[in-house]
C-alpha cells in the first residue's frame, strides 16, 4: 500500500492524464460508433473547461453549479453543431469539425474573459484523481449499460447504411444530433476535470494537436469499442512518458505504434477480445 502511495505521488499527474484522456476517447468512440468522424472533442472540452473556470473563479459560482452548466453548454454546442454539418460525411465532416475546433480556439484566444493568449490563471484545485476516475467509471457504466439499447442499435445501423437505416424508420439526423450532444457532454466532463486539476488553461490546450491525440487513442484502441478507446488512451498516454529518455524523438514512437496497429491490427486493442454482441463483426 505504501509503495502504491509513493508511486501515485510520483506519477499522479500521469494518472490524471490517463483518466482524462480515456474520457475524451470515449467521447470520440460514441461518435465513431454512429459512423460520425466528428473531430470536435478538444473544442467541446475547451468550452466546458473555460465555462467552468470562468463561472467558478470570475463569478464565484460553486463548482457544483458551474460544472453542470459547463457540461450542459458543451452538450448543447455538440447538438447544435450536428445541424449545419448534417449533410457531411467522412473526411468532409472531419474537416468541418476540425474547423469548428479552430474557431473555438481562436475565440478563446481573443476574448478577455478567457485570459486570451496569456491563459486563464488561478483555478483552485477543487477536483482530484478520485473525481476523474469516478467520472470515468460512471460514463463507462452508462455506455456499457446502453450497449444493447435501441439507441446503440440505431447508431450502429446509421454507421452501416444510412439510407437503409432511414428505410426502417430511423431518424438518422436525430441519431447524429443526440450522438454529438452526448459526445459534447462527455468531453465537457473531461474539460471540467482538466480545468480543476491543472489550475491553468490556455487556448493551445484545446487545439488540433489534442484532437489528433484523441483520434489516435481510438484508432489504437479499436474505433467502435469504448473499452478499446480507454485502453488506447492509457497506452498512448503512458508510452511517451515511458520513453522520456528519447527526448524530442519520443513523439515518433506514437507514430510508429499507430502505423503498426493500422497495418497489423486494424481492429486495434479491441480486436483482441470480443465486444458487444452487435459489434462482434467489428472486433
Amino acid at each position: 500500500m505504501h509503495d502504491l502511495l509513493v508511486l501515485y505521488t510520483r506519477y499522479h499527474t500521469l494518472v490524471d492524464q490517463i483518466g482524462i484522456n480515456a474520457i475524451l476517447a470515449l467521447s470520440l468512440a460514441i461518435c465513431l460508433r454512429a459512423g460520425q468522424l466528428a473531430l470536435a472533442q478538444a473544442a467541446f472540452m475547451g468550452i466546458a473547461a473555460y465555462i467552468a473556470a470562468i463561472t467558478v473563479v470570475t463569478y464565484a459560482w460553486p463548482l457544483a453549479l458551474g460544472a453542470p452548466v459547463a457540461v450542459a453548454a458543451s452538450a448543447i454546442v455538440g447538438g447544435l453543431l450536428a445541424l449545419p454539418v448534417e449533410r457531411l460525411r467522412g473526411v468532409y465532416l472531419a474537416i468541418a469539425t476540425i474547423g469548428f475546433g479552430e474557431i473555438v480556439r481562436i475565440i478563446a484566444y481573443n476574448l478577455q474573459v478567457t485570459g486570451g493568449g496569456d491563459g486563464f490563471n488561478g483555478i483552485p484545485p477543487l477536483l482530484s484523481t478520485a473525481w476523474i476516475y469516478a467520472t470515468l467509471a460512471v460514463i463507462g457504466a452508462l455506455l456499457y449499460g446502453a450497449r444493447r439499447s435501441r439507441f446503440a442499435l440505431a447508431q450502429s445501423v446509421t454507421r452501416e447504411d444510412e439510407a437503409a437505416a432511414q428505410g426502417v424508420g430511423i431518424d438518422t439526423g436525430r441519431v447524429r444530433v443526440v450522438t454529438l450532444a452526448a459526445a459534447g457532454a462527455i468531453a465537457g466532463c473531461a474539460g471540467v476535470l482538466y480545468a480543476f486539476t491543472n489550475f491553468f488553461l490556455t487556448p493551445g490546450d484545446f487545439a488540433f494537436g489534442r484532437m489528433e491525440q484523441i483520434l489516435v487513442y481510438c484508432v489504437i484502441g479499436g474505433v467502435t469499442s469504448p473499452l478499446g478507446a480507454v485502453a488506447g488512451a492509457a497506452v498512448m498516454t503512458i508510452l511517451p512518458e515511458a520513453f522520456r529518455f528519447l527526448h524530442d524523438f519520443r513523439d515518433v514512437l506514437s507514430g510508429i505504434v499507430l502505423l503498426l496497429v493500422i497495418v497489423f491490427a486494424p481492429g486495434g486493442i479491441a480486436g483482441l477480445w470480443k465486444t458487444a454482441p452487435h459489434e462482434r463483426a467489428h472486433a
Partner: protein, 236 residues
Amino acid sequence: MNALTLDGVVVRFGGVDALGGVSLRVDPGSIVGLIGPNGAGKTTLVNATTGMVPLAGGSVVLGGARLDGLRPFAIARRGVARTYQNIRLFGALSVQDNIRAGAIRRHDTTSQEIRALLERVGLRDLDGAAVASGLAYGDQRRVEIARALAGSPAILMLDEPAAGMNPRETSELAGLVRAIAQDGIGVLLIEHDVGLVRAVCDRVVVLNFGIVLAEGTPDAVARDPAVVEAYLGAAV
C-alpha cells in the same frame, strides 16, 4: 383501408422524366406486380414512394394521408417497408440485430419474435447470431424481407426479390409473398421473373420509359400486344 395510391407521380432527373405521371394502387392484402424492361422506372417508383427521390409532380397517399414530401424514415414509420434490388442488410450486424432494427421504431423485439419472423420467411434453422454479410445470397434476401416485416408494415415493396434465387427458392418465395398478402399487407412486387409474377400477382402494371404501358390481370397483360412488343418479346 390502408391502400397505397400513387397519382400522376412524376420524377425528373435533370431534363429526363424517369417517371412521367404514373398512377397505381395497392390495396391491403393484394399483390400488385410491377414489370418493365431495364430502365423503365420500376426502382425509381419505389424510391419515389419511399421518399428516397423527390417527386416533381403527383402524389403518394397511404390510407388517406399524404406521404410525398416526407423524409424516408417518416414514410417508413407510416407503414411503407421495402427491400432493395441490391441487398442492403446491415452487413456487419447479426441477423437478429438486423431484425431488431426493422422494428426499432415500435419496440424492442424479443428473441421469440425474431425467431417467429425467421420461421415466417423460411429460415427456421438459421443462427440469429450469425453475421448478416456471411449468409448465403438467398438467405440474405429472406432476412431482408424479415427485417421489412418486423416493422408490421401496411405496404411491402419487394424490389426483385427473386434475383439470384434458384427455382426451388423462387417457388418458396412465391408461397411467402402469398402468405404476407393473406396477413393483410399490400405487396408491390417488382420482378423480372414473369413466371413468379403470374403465379402470385392479382394485378400487373407494366412500365416502359417511365409511363404505364398496360395494367390488368397477369393473363390480360400477357396478351396485350403493346406489352408483348415492348417488353416480353413473345407471348408467355
